[in-house]
């Protein structure tokens, strides 16, 4: 995105935020979404090992040998095992090489990347509210499972009370209190898409941690480099595509002036049955690219409709994927 259009978007965001009535009303809606997500997340607990297969990087143990002194079990030696963990006494007695496994003592971490671009706050949709509800629910469930959670805002620098700097890239979303009631309200005023944000500043992911990316993924970029950067040195990663109904369903019959929520570019188009069909095909094609890229990188992928998130009082999709379990 050019710097000129970025400046323009900033102006628009400033103009929108200056509309106190609308802003207050939206803030209230988003706050309610956070609280609702908090309540929802309290009913879940994130499983510490939701990673599953890592895919192309090879087979990983479900439980890694840790550095804790708590003995866990013996097992056969496998090439590559640390020689220091060989139980020499057993080998002497039985003439077989066994390795002592100790229970790892580690604190699970969750790095949640939230697409903070303006497309996530789509006008006349529940996309922003649904996203925040999902973020609140996931972080609450993760905290319940003793995850150390960090939320990264991708593409945004204008988060009041939360972001120290105002440049592009990914920035940490400063949460003063775990309770969402005290969270600052993200305004989804990002001026960069995920690709640009990762290019400019990648989040300081913690190695061997769990990572969740929440975005609509509706930008024109190759998903593979993004997912590679996102999943590098992670224990497991999950991509949640949050979409509004309007993202899936094209406008009804008639002439439509389409406005890009981020660039404010417009296109006039006459929608008919053929056009609707073409749009659906293009959307499915785009989503398939992300699913395929995620699969190649060992990431799991789940699309969620924001309007459904608002209306429903459960996270069925994440339950089915054994990411969240009722507490």
């Amino acid at each position: 995105m050019s710097s000129e259009s970025a400046t323009k978007n900033l102006d628009i965001s400033a103009t929108q935020s200056s509309e106190d009535g609308a802003s207050d009303w939206q803030s209230k809606v988003l706050r309610d979404a956070l609280l609702s997500g908090f309540e929802l997340g309290n009913r879940y607990q994130m499983l510490p090992n939701f990673d599953g297969n890592r895919g192309l990087n090879g087979t990983m143990f479900r439980q890694r040998a840790g550095s804790s002194l708590e003995f866990l079990e013996h097992r056969d030696y496998q090439p590559g095992d640390d020689l220091r963990h060989i139980d020499w006494s057993v080998m002497a007695k039985r003439d077989q090489v066994y390795v002592k496994c100790f229970e790892q003592e580690s604190t699970p971490v969750l790095d949640l990347v939230l697409d903070h671009s303006q497309s996530m706050n789509l006008v006349d949709s529940e996309k922003a509210a649904g996203t925040l509800k999902l973020v609140a629910a996931v972080t609450t469930a993760a905290r319940a499972a003793h995850f150390h959670v960090k939320i990264w805002l991708a593409g945004s620098s204008l988060v009041e009370h939360a972001v120290a700097e105002t440049s592009g890239g990914c920035h940490l979303f400063q949460i003063p209190n775990p309770h969402p009631a005290s969270w600052p309200i993200p305004d989804f005023s990002g001026i960069q898409n995920l690709s640009d944000a990762f290019q400019e500043r990648l989040p300081s992911f913690r190695p061997q941690g769990f990572r969740i990316l929440i975005s609509d993924l509706l930008f024109d970029a190759d998903p593979m480099p993004i997912i590679q950067q996102f999943s590098q040195q992670s224990q497991s990663c999950l991509i949640i595509q949050v979409l509004a109904e309007d993202d899936i369903t094209p406008p009804s019959h008639g002439s439509v002036r389409i406005i890009d929520s981020e660039s404010n570019e417009t296109q006039t188009v006459f929608i008919d049955a053929d056009m609707r069909k073409r749009y659906t095909e293009a959307f499915n094609r785009h989503q398939s690219r992300w699913i395929e890229a995620a699969s190649r990188q060992g990431c799991r992928f789940v699309p969620i409709i924001a309007e459904n998130l608002i209306q429903q009082n459960h996270l069925k999709e994440l339950e089915e994927m054994q990411i969240l379990v009722p507490s």
Binding site: L218, D246, Q267
Partner: protein, 740 residues
């Protein structure tokens, strides 16, 4: 310009801006913020062509709905428009008299006045000027015409509802103006009865109406006349009469010539010096030329004796031509004598003698003693089988006659008793000759009812003997052989003859001009209940007249001319049923002509040699003539001769005499073949039409107000607009459905 019965419905046009607003809102681009244009870019570029196509559909829909709304709004206003078929129906009554052919000549000293009235163009007849006026009127495309010719009786001319000039011209070509009179008001009454009060009537003539007030008060009428007073000399009457001269049969002509001036109040009377020419019509040779001098507004009757050389030839009379040529010449044809063949065969010698004596003194009566079947009248004292168009005078023997001295009940209108001096006459007949059918012959209320005085018949045995001698005398007579003669009927048979019926079983209707149509058996002269002369109409043109008379004991045939008058009446009556036209020279435009009974159609040829076929019904044809001159009728087609009705006795006797019948019928057909063509002259002369003093150019126009009213009658067009709106909306619906 159309007008609207409900102009407030124009407020419905307010729907048009609403429609425009709907289309504006419908076609305005809806604003839609999307997460990214990424997915749209490729689609929009590849779909630009289809987008244009879809946009083109909307204006179609819009215009269809727009026109539909406009049509609906206009239909709601209930518009009325003048359609092309709203021509004003008008009937033109054309004066068909020959005065319409009056053509002004340059000699008129009223040309100055004519210039003022606009009728000064010479060489144009009134008819020409009327035609010009009508053609001018037809150019306006306002009227549709029916044409009625007002001659002696009204007659349609051309087709109905004439709208174009060509058809009008073709119809007016048949307007010949050769009638001797024009009954305009009869034609007007006919038109008024046929059409309603809104129908326009145009009268075209050469005179002002006799009563202007009547015409002016009738808003339907327009009266235009282009006539003008002119001098005219005319033949107003002519006749041709046979006279007996020393040298034999000659003929005399009576010609009446009248001179009419254009202004009868003129102090100086014009004098006409001319001559009348009598021309042989066959070779156009002038036979006689007789000069005459005539003062204006006087008439002169000229009697001319015709030379014997042209006594029986067809003649043409001419005087010098002037403004009206139709009354300057005429044809007078020689009247051919009608010969009546009579067969006479009576046993009573005395009776036969008085019959023969009477018949011999009547001209053109021929006593045929050989072949009764070809005779017109058969007189016998026995029954006789009649041929078609044959009359039988049945004189039955009077066995016990009673002398009646009167009073006699006489059927006064019967042709047989015309001028018959029967009062005081003694009539002897059998008293037992009762009426034949009492119901038909019931005495009339005013008929004398007193029983007649009966004289005692002569009881002298000498007379009786004489009667017997007469009866028994073997006088040589042609024997009546064959089926024509049958045994004498008994008294009862005679009293109740077989009343024939026609083929359909219905009673025959009388075709006689002198007989009441509902009478078939009629007592002509009665004495009390005794029928003395009984007229039986047997069938079409067959008649049986029973004459109950014993002449020896009667004074009918001796002391008074009763007998000869009776026979003359009989012969003259029979002559009226002879074949040919009723009048050989006639001024009336219609006449009847008789033809053989088996004639179906005749070919009628007029003076202009145009021919048309006319049906003949029961041997009678009614002929209408529209042109003056010579007319000719020729038998076109005939049926086979109908079989005469026969009684059982006749049928029995018929077997015996086939041979004689063949001879008779052959002779009969030969006689009929001799005459299949007749001609006559129609000369439409009338002093009233020749007198042009009352001719006038005038116009009485009552149509203007009617025209305005009529033109305000418009045809409703709401249904048409409603239908149009419906069609447009249906089309729009179909388009919209297809677009979706």
């Amino acid at each position: 310009m159309p007008f609207f019965l409900n102009p407030f419905a124009f407020t419905g046009l307010a729907a048009i801006p609403i429609l425009i607003g709907i289309y504006y809102l419908r076609n305005r681009f809806k604003r839609r913020v999307v997460s990214s244009l990424m997915l749209w870019d490729g689609i929009i570029k590849s779909n630009e062509g289809g987008q244009k196509k879809d946009r083109l559909q909307l204006p179609w829909m819009f215009f269809l709905e727009l026109f539909g709304l406009v049509a609906l709004a206009f239909a709601a206003t209930q518009p009325f428009v003048k359609t092309s078929s709203s021509r004003i129906p008008a009937t033109i009554v054309l004066d068909d008299s020959y005065s319409m052919l009056a053509t002004p000549t340059g000699n008129s000293n009223r040309s100055g006045a004519d210039d003022q009235t606009g009728v000064s163009d010479l060489g144009k007849s009134v008819r020409d000027r009327v035609i010009e006026s009508l053609m001018e009127m037809s150019k306006s495309n306002t009227y549709e015409f029916d044409l009625i010719l007002a001659g002696q009786s009204p007659r349609r001319l051309g087709e109905k509802n004439i709208t174009d000039s060509a058809a009008l011209t073709a119809a007016l070509d048949e307007w010949t103006c050769e009638q001797s009179s024009s009954n305009l008001f009869e034609a007007l009454e006919v038109v008024k009865k046929i059409h309603g009060p809104e129908h326009r009537i145009l009268v075209c003539t050469d005179q002002a109406p006799a009563d202007k007030a009547i015409v002016e008060s009738d808003s339907r009428l327009r009266w235009i006349s282009f006539g003008k007073p002119m001098d005219n000399t005319a033949i107003t009457f002519a006749s041709r009469t046979q006279v007996l001269s020393d040298t034999g049969a000659g003929e005399k002509l009576l010609v009446r010539i009248e001179s009419f001036s254009e202004d009868p109040t003129q102090p100086t009377k014009r004098r006409v010096n001319s001559s009348i020419k009598i021309i042989d019509a066959e070779n156009n040779r002038t036979v006689v030329e007789s000069p005459f001098q005539l003062t204006a507004d006087t008439k002169k009757e000229i009697i001319l004796e015709l030379p014997e050389s042209v006594a029986k030839r067809d003649l043409r009379l001419e005087i010098d031509a002037d403004t009206v040529t139709a009354d300057n010449q005429l044809f007078l044809l020689a009247k051919e004598p009608i010969e009546i063949d009579v067969y006479l065969n009576l046993d009573d010698v005395f009776f036969e003698k008085i019959w023969k004596d009477a018949l011999q003194v009547i001209p053109n009566v021929k006593i045929n003693e050989a072949s009764p079947s070809v005779c017109d009248i058969v007189i016998t004292d026995t029954e006789f089988v009649l041929q078609p168009e044959q009359w039988h005078i049945f004189c039955p023997p009077q066995k016990a006659p009673v002398a009646f001295a009167g009073p006699y009940a006489v059927s006064a209108e019967h042709p047989l008793v015309k001028g018959l001096p029967i009062r005081g006459a003694i009539w002897a007949a059998d008293a037992d000759k009762r009426e034949i059918t009492q119901s038909n012959l019931a005495p009339k209320p005013n008929a004398p009812s007193a029983s007649p005085k009966s004289l005692v018949p002569d009881s002298n045995p000498k007379n009786k003997k004489a009667n017997g001698a007469n009866a028994d005398s073997g006088k040589s007579k042609p024997s009546l052989k064959g089926s024509n003669l049958i045994d004498p009927p008994s008294d009862q048979d005679a009293a109740e003859p077989d009343i024939p019926k026609n083929e359909s079983g219905e009673n025959n209707s009388d075709t006689s001009p002198d007989m009441p149509s509902n009478s078939r058996i009629r007592s002509v002269i009665r004495a009390g209940q005794t029928g003395l002369i009984i007229d039986h109409q047997l069938s079409q043109l067959r008649r049986r007249i029973e004459l109950n008379l014993q002449p020896k004991y009667s004074t009918v045939s001796s002391s008074q001319p009763t007998w000869i008058v009776l026979i003359v009446n009989l012969i003259e009556w029979r002559k009226k049923y002879a074949h040919g036209p009723e009048f050989v020279n006639t001024w009336q435009n219609t006449q009847s002509a008789r033809f053989p009974l088996d004639t179906e159609t005749i070919s009628l040829t007029g003076p202009d040699q145009s021919t048309k076929v006319i049906p003949v019904i029961n041997g009678l044809a009614q002929i209408e003539m529209i042109q003056g001159g010579l007319w000719n009728a020729k038998i076109e087609s005939s049926r086979s001769n109908p079989e005469p009705e026969k009684s059982s006795k006749e049928k029995n006797s018929e077997m015996k005499s086939d041979e004689e019948n063949k001879v008779n019928s052959q002779t009969n057909s030969e006689t009929e073949q001799q005459r299949t063509e007749w001609k006559w002259s129609f000369y439409p002369l009338s002093a009233r039409e020749s007198n042009l003093q009352k001719a006038e150019t005038t116009t009485i126009d009552n149509w203007r107000e009617l025209d305005v009213n009529y033109r305000s009658i418009y045809q409703p067009a709401a249904w048409l607009l409603g239908l149009l709106a419906f069609g447009l909306f249906i089309t729009a619906f179909v388009f919209q459905h297809q677009a979706k």
